[in-house]
Amino acid sequence: MVVVQESEIVNLLVAFFALVIVEVVFRRRRLSELSFFYTGFFSLVGAFVFTVLEGVFWGGFFNGLEHLCYAAAGLSFAVGCYRLSSRRAL
């Protein structure tokens, strides 16, 4: 039985849209210092994907992956913020 919430679908669609924007617009620009933020963002997008997938099949496995992605995203953002806050002003 497929159990997918609407919000998860919306989140996924918005995430894909955001992903395109990030890939097309920002990563081609000089925002390399936000690379850990991008990693965190990709991890969260992965979490959105796994959230949807866990409702379709292998619910336990994808649910674990989803929360692992949360942890990875948290780590990435933490490192990103740490590095950004440790540098001098531009």
Partner: protein
């Protein structure tokens, strides 16, 4: 188990996000503006909340927020996008700020450079309107640089009404390359100054020519300096070239001539073009050892002053007085040498020494002649007296006459000695030139292979001459002719009367002259020698001293006459003598029968006892009463006493030269002061003394040259008494 793993994952995520929020708040403001910061914090807070909610949910704790996290998650993405946009915008702003700051710094640097550079800098558009100029340009033109902007460059900088024909900017725009021009700028006060302008094309962003940049330099002082240097160069070059001393610049090591002046070439007799680059040794001026000697002296003292050195010119040694110094030019060492060819000076010195020797001989000869005249006076006087005392038909009379003739010849000889010794003024009397020439020539030619042919007209005018001196001239000419014709020949001697008019081109003054020509048919004189034959010491004869013709020339000149020569090699030589004609007839030689008797008291002054005795006896024989004095002082005393006693002297015969006592000139002057009517005759063995020639200038009324004889004495006394 799975729930525990999820709790751990979300727990870690919660901690990480919490840490991230903490660090996000510490991100410097210059790196992250507040808006971006808040967006980031919101993003992180969403997942802090989601992770925390999940931990509670999977830990079995009451999930108060169950389901809410899904909505929060929806907020994350737009917030994160906004964050990225805001951050990107912030970065762009920062970039722009940095660019503007860099531009501002560059502008400041550029302005500092342009304003402080020592050149006037001006940006000028294609339309020649000034866009910008710097402070230096203002200083150069003595104006506020701001007043130039927007105006036409040719009006502001050169005071013109149209574009300058020489404008380097126009050329720079046309060629695309830098151009240069030196012209004159006009200052604000109207004064002009020299400027050097370098113009570069000014390109716009598209690479098209948009105008030009001018760099202006005040070169007034530089041009003046260059002009002064050029003038100095020209001045010193002229001095170098026209210096009367030879100047040479040679390389110290090689001895090669780097530069020489015209006098150097003239002195050494070589072409200036041929000597440059060649060494003095190669040219044969010095030997290498001579050059080395000079270099050693230069190295030791730095300079050489007044060194006399012999150098060779065309194989002939020349003497030089040399001044040398080592100089450095462009790191190379050279020898600057100035020298003077003193060969002629040394010859002149030798001549002067010879003249000094001759003068000393002349003084000796003059003294001998003077003494000899005194002796001859005694001889001739006694002969005259003896002739008077005997009868003309006596045999002794003839012997006396011959003795007298011989004594007169001796007198002539002393006359020549005096002429040689002093070259004094001739004592001119009216005399027959024909008789004198014939007698003097025959005297020389007798015994030689040369014969004289005379053409001496009877109506030849007498001339005012010193017979002794003119005889010497004729004898010299005859002697030269004999030497010129060792194998024999003929001398054509002729004379004629000539008159020089006022407007005739002649070195002679207008008047009447006796022109005597003396022509031999010898080998003649080379043309190059003719201008020099009257120069002292010029001779072509091995045994000659070069004085004969020089003395002749001097004698004739002192007679106010002229001695000239015409000669042609192989065509013989002719000398012409012009002598001033006399206005009076020649005085005939006196004889015993011509004795002129008189009366009166005569005072004879002489230091020679024999002369006093002869004079006393002769004058007493002539009827005069005689007193004698040994010098001028005694004569003055006797003259004074006689006058006071009422027995004054009718005449005084005063010897000109009295050793150790008052001479005739001084005594005559004092005597005339005492008695202006005194009649004083001058007598001297120096018959060609200037006083004798110009006796009237010294107050004398007549001359009695020694040796005098009784006939002449009687005539002179008759003339003045």
């Amino acid at each position: 188990m799975q729930n525990l793993m999820i709790v751990v994952f979300d727990g870690l995520a919660t901690l990480f996000f919490a840490f991230a929020i903490y660090r996000a708040l510490l991100i410097p403001a210059g790196r992250l503006d507040n808006f971006s910061r808040y967006l980031l914090v919101i993003c992180l807070a969403i997942y802090f909340f989601v992770s925390g909610a999940n931990v509670l949910e999977y830990a079995g704790i009451t999930a108060y927020f169950d389901g809410l996290e899904d909505y929060f998650e929806i907020l994350f993405l737009p917030c994160f996008m906004f964050f990225l946009f805001a951050y990107d915008a912030r970065l762009e702003i920062n970039r722009r700020n940095r660019t503007e700051e860099a531009l501002s710094a560059s502008e400041k640097l550029y302005r500092t450079l342009v304003d402080n550079i020592d050149l006037g800098v001006t940006l000028i558009g294609k339309d020649h309107r000034i866009r910008m100029t710097n402070a230096t340009q203002g200083r150069l033109f003595r104006r506020d640089p701001a007043t130039f902007v927007g105006k036409l460059c040719y009006q502001e900088f050169e005071g013109r009404k149209e574009v300058c024909g020489h404008c380097p900017g126009v050329r720079a725009m046309a060629s695309g390359k830098a151009q240069e021009e030196i012209t004159q700028g006009v200052r604000g006060d109207g004064s002009r100054f020299d400027v050097r302008i370098r113009a570069f094309p000014l390109l716009d962003a598209a690479g098209e020519t948009d105008g030009f940049i001018e760099l202006v330099e005040d070169v007034t002082i530089r041009l003046q300096t260059e002009q002064a240097l050029r003038e100095n160069e020209a001045k010193f070059r002229a001095l170098f070239d026209l210096a009367p001393m030879a100047v040479a610049l040679t390389d110290l090591q090689s001895g090669r001539l780097i530069d020489v002046n015209m006098e150097f070439c003239r002195t050494t007799g070589v072409s200036c073009r041929d000597v440059l680059g060649r060494s003095v040794v190669e040219l044969g001026f010095y030997s290498e050892s001579d050059r080395q000697d000079l270099l050693v002296a230069l190295q030791q003292k730095g300079e050489v002053n007044g060194l006399e050195k012999t150098f060779m010119v065309k194989g002939q040694p020349r003497h030089a007085l040399m001044f040398s110094r080592i100089i450095e030019l462009q790191d190379n060492r050279f020898v600057l040498t100035v020298f003077n060819d003193i060969t002629e000076i040394k010859k002149m010195e030798e001549n002067l020494q010879r003249i000094a020797r001759i003068e000393s001989v002349g003084i000796l000869a003059g003294g001998i002649a003077h003494d000899f005249n005194n002796i001859l006076t005694g001889v001739l006087g006694n002969i005259s007296l003896a002739k008077i005392y005997c009868q003309p038909h006596d045999k002794v009379y003839d012997k006396l006459r011959e003795t007298e003739y011989a004594a007169l010849r001796a007198r002539d000889l002393t006359q020549q000695l005096l002429t040689f010794s002093r070259g004094g003024e001739p004592v001119r009397r009216s005399a027959s030139v024909a008789a004198l020439v014939r007698e003097a020539s025959d005297f020389v030619l007798s015994g030689s292979r040369v014969r004289a042919e005379y053409d001496l007209p009877d109506d030849l005018w007498p001339a005012d001459i010193d017979s002794g001196q003119i005889s010497q001239v004729v004898q010299n000419l005859a002697f030269n002719a004999v030497q010129a014709m060792p194998e024999g020949g003929t001398i054509a001697v002729s004379a004629e009367n000539v008159t020089i008019g006022d407007h005739e081109a002649s070195p002679l003054a207008a008047g009447r002259y006796v022109r005597l020509s003396y022509a031999d048919d010898g080998p003649g004189i080379a043309a190059e020698h003719l201008p020099h034959i009257f120069d002292p010491y010029f001779t072509t004869k091995k045994s000659g001293n070069g004085l004969g013709l020089a003395i002749c020339h001097t004698i004739i000149k002192r007679h106010r006459g002229l001695l000239t020569v015409e000669s042609r090699v192989g065509g013989g030589t002719t000398f012409f003598i012009h002598l001033p004609a006399a206005v009076t007839a020649p005085q005939p030689a006196a004889t015993a029968a011509d004795l002129l008797y008189g009366s009166g008291r005569i005072l004879v002054v002489d230091d020679e006892e024999i002369i006093l005795e002869i004079a006393r006896e002769a004058l007493m024989l002539l009827g005069y009463e005689v007193e004698t004095a040994r010098d001028g002082q005694e004569a003055l005393e006797l003259y004074g006493r006689a006058r006071e006693a009422g027995r004054p002297f009718a005449a005084v015969i005063m010897d000109l030269t009295i050793p150790g006592g008052m001479g005739g000139k001084e005594a005559a002057a004092k005597l005339l002061e005492y008695d202006a009517q005194a009649r004083v005759l001058v007598s001297s063995g120096y018959s060609n003394d200037p006083v004798m020639a110009n006796f009237a200038d010294y107050g004398f009324v007549g001359v009695v040259p020694k040796p005098y004889h009784i006939e002449g004495l009687s005539r002179v006394l008759r003339d003045i008494l």
